[in-house]
């Protein structure tokens, strides 16, 4: 009977279900990318998918960006670093395995420089002050290096069969799809007109501009200092040979991400700002023709008690002042919860109305933080559960 105890789970929402187990089970799925704004549970979602896939028999490596120490501990890997570490606490009965790593952008950049140039040239680049700033501070470097690392992991997976699934937790994007845009930005920067002018001021068709340019260049020198501009020049000369390779690899990783072997999941919570960001992600990915399988909605509130907030509050009011203190508070909290559910439903309905074909799966709000393997498994189970 579907009476008063019927689960109260956001009525009126009929969107396609995002079947995670099907995605995991499809051997053609080789890369899963979780993206979304900060604070929506992206790292936890990535870990839950990785654990579930590994326990279902996939050979998984999860690449995380966020140093969520508790989560690393919950996977039995105290400190994650730039090298994949085996996660041994999982159940390997189905023949799967799990490795976990955390992106170290500086080290990844260093490794690229070392492996693609002569020792002398590498040493010159690594010591360059501009390189030091670029590899540790530049806003797009983390995203660029995430792509670079993803390319490396994929190459290794293909060559040695170490893994058959890579789960990527993208950097907490400052503005939407930074990790897709960053390679382009860095390329444009290092390949840009200003830099070429800086290197070869009076050459080619831009010569006529050089008077105006020298004024600007002088201002730049005053602001940035002559040293930093010299560093940039030295760096670019040393880096020129490497640069083509960078571009090429970024392009092929981009192609890999657009292929049928990859799939994107947009992670969000049913709050206005998180859904707004998610909408931006969904629209951008669709525009770019990236393979988007759907959306994960985390921390969705639910109640097993179908009593309206109005009725709960009315009964609470009748009981106020009696000895039923716990009852009154329980009813008030229930009313509060039902209001939250109403608000979330409204937000999700609006979102779904604009994107009716986007599949989604919901993970209910959990009473505690996800800090152990049991909780990570629970999130995986909730992700895959249609109800």
């Amino acid at each position: 009977m579907t009476g008063a105890l019927e689960s109260h789970r956001h009525p009126g929402l009929s969107v396609p279900f995002l079947d995670l187990d099907k995605i995991i089970g499809d051997r053609d799925t080789k890369i899963i990318i979780c993206c979304g704004s900060g604070g929506v549970g992206k790292t936890t979602t990535s870990a839950a998918i990785a654990v579930r896939a590994a326990e279902a028999g996939r050979k998984v490596v999860v690449l995380t960006i966020d140093p969520a120490r508790r989560l690393a501990q919950s996977l039995g890997v105290g400190e994650l670093d730039n090298t994949p570490r085996a996660v041994t606490v999982i159940d390997t009965a189905s023949g799967g395995s799990l490795d976990a790593m955390m992106l170290d952008m500086k080290r990844t950049f260093d490794e690229v420089v070392i492996s693609h140039s002569t020792p002398e040239k590498a040493a010159a680049i690594l010591q360059n002050q501009f390189y030091v700033a670029l590899s540790s501070e530049f806003a797009g470097t983390q995203e660029y290096m995430a792509m670079e690392k993803l390319g490396q992991l994929h190459a290794e997976a293909e060559a040695r069969g170490t893994w058959d699934l890579i789960v990527v937790d993208t950097p907490p994007a400052r503005s939407a799809l930074d990790f897709l845009d960053a390679p382009e930005h860095l390329s444009a920067l290092l390949d840009g007109r200003f830099l070429r002018l800086l290197l070869h001021p009076a050459r080619g068709p831009l010569r006529v501009m050089s008077a105006g340019f020298s004024m600007i260049s002088a201002a730049m020198t005053k602001i940035l200092g002559a040293q930093i501009l010299r560093d940039v020049q030295t760096f670019v000369r040393a880096f020129e040979a490497l640069f083509g390779g960078f571009r090429q690899r970024a392009t092929s990783t981009f192609e890999l991400l657009s292929s049928r072997h990859s799939t994107f999941l947009v992670v969000a919570t049913p709050q206005r700002d998180a859904l707004r960001e998610a909408a931006y992600f969904v629209d951008r990915l669709t525009e770019e023709g990236m393979p988007l399988s759907g959306m994960v909605l985390n921390r969705v509130h639910t109640s097993a008690l179908a009593i309206s907030p109005e009725r709960a509050l009315s009964v609470a009011e009748d009981l106020a002042g009696t000895s039923a203190v716990l009852e009154v508070e329980a009813l008030r909290r229930h009313a509060h919860l039902m209001r939250v559910i109403e608000t979330e439903s409204r937000m999700m309905e609006r979102f779904a109305a604009a994107r009716p074909t986007l599949a989604q799966t919901q993970v209910q709000s959990l009473p505690t933080d996800v800090t152990d393997l049991a909780a990570v498994r629970l999130v995986g189970a909730l992700l895959s559960d249609k109800d």
Binding site: A4, F194, G212, A226, L337
Partner: protein, 319 residues
């Protein structure tokens, strides 16, 4: 009487409601006849979304709200490129060259190769807005609220000295960094942290405060956001969280009472955890404020409600 804070910097982990609290604080400060500037620095258009007004472009400072107390809140989305061109104009009279700079990609280049420069330009714009009052400019503000980068980046963002360390050793940018640092360290500036009573945001708040201490920038209030208040005491909460208590709400079936009890057990357990995190924040020895969770979601009305709670709990300057 403590000196007026004219610059309020608001930080917090992603998802804690940092922008909402910054907006609430701006409204709280906009009492009768006062003008308050609310700025954001990450180009997310969070302010305009929140107040449901058209986007803010470039250097535009537009009124986005009039408070019921009769004050006015202006919005500004600080843009590093626009700030650099403005800066070049001020110090080098290079305004005509501004467009040429953009064409050469020089602005993007400069702010990209020296990420610290970007932060100095962003804080520098807030500094300029604060200074207008001292300089008696007509477009001055009684207070400036800065919706700053998240906790993970806040110490680096505000440490403008370190940011320009690799840049020119002399010249206006260095002098400006010194002036900005003086303002940030002065008694009229405060950094507030927004957190949820969850483990990760509390941990990040603790870490950010520790990272900020050496900069000598004053920390204002730690704002616990989305708190669900409870009239119950510890014993009652523990009893409820145990899940063994039999609730007897008249008119509800036995099954409904059971469902209510197990739902309440989870809620009570959550409240107990929140109280532990509140204790951790209390140990920081800083003023705390609590903002009640609004189950109706965030709109302009909710921002005004937050403003009221902040007015009641924070020591805001007298009118």
């Amino acid at each position: 009487m403590s000196p007026r804070h004219t610059l309020h910097i608001v930080s917090g982990k992603g998802g804690t409601g940092k922008t909402t609290i910054a907006a609430g604080l701006a409204c709280a400060l906009a009492t009768s006849g006062r003008r308050v500037l609310l700025c954001e620095v990450e180009g997310r258009n969070g302010i305009t979304e929140l107040f449901d007004v058209p986007l803010l472009n470039g250097t535009e400072e537009r009124r986005i709200s009039r408070t019921s107390a009769g004050g006015m809140v202006y919005g500004l989305s600080i843009d590093a490129e626009a700030a650099l061109i403005e800066y070049l104009d001020t110090f080098y009279h290079l305004s005509i060259a501004g467009k040429a700079l953009d064409r050469f990609g020089a602005v993007d280049f400069a702010t990209s190769i020296a990420p610290g420069l970007r932060d100095v330009l962003l804080t520098g714009k807030a500094y300029e807005a604060v200074r207008r009052r001292i300089k008696n400019r007509p477009n001055s503000y009684d207070a400036v609220v800065l919706d700053a980068p998240p906790t993970g980046r806040i110490a680096q963002f505000l440490n403008v000295h370190a940011a320009v360390a690799g840049l020119a050793k002399v010249g206006p940018i260095r002098n400006q960094a010194d002036s900005i640092m003086r303002l940030l360290r002065s008694a009229t500036t405060a950094v507030h942290f927004v957190t949820l009573l969850e483990d990760m945001p509390v941990t990040e708040t603790e870490e950010a405060i520790a990272a900020l201490r050496p900069t000598q920038i004053r920390i204002g209030t730690v704002i616990e956001n989305m708190v669900t208040p409870t009239p119950l005491d510890l014993d009652q909460l523990q009893t409820a969280a145990g899940g063994t208590v039999a609730l007897k709400v008249p008119g509800l079936t036995v099954k409904q009472n059971e469902a209510l009890a197990s739902e309440f057990a989870i809620e009570a357990a959550r409240t107990l955890q929140e109280q532990q995190r509140h204790d951790r924040l209390t140990a920081l020895g800083l003023p705390l404020a609590q903002i009640a969770f609004d189950p109706g979601g965030i709109d302009e009305g909710a921002i005004f409600a937050i403003a009221e709670q902040l007015t009641d709990q924070m020591i805001l300057e007298a009118v």
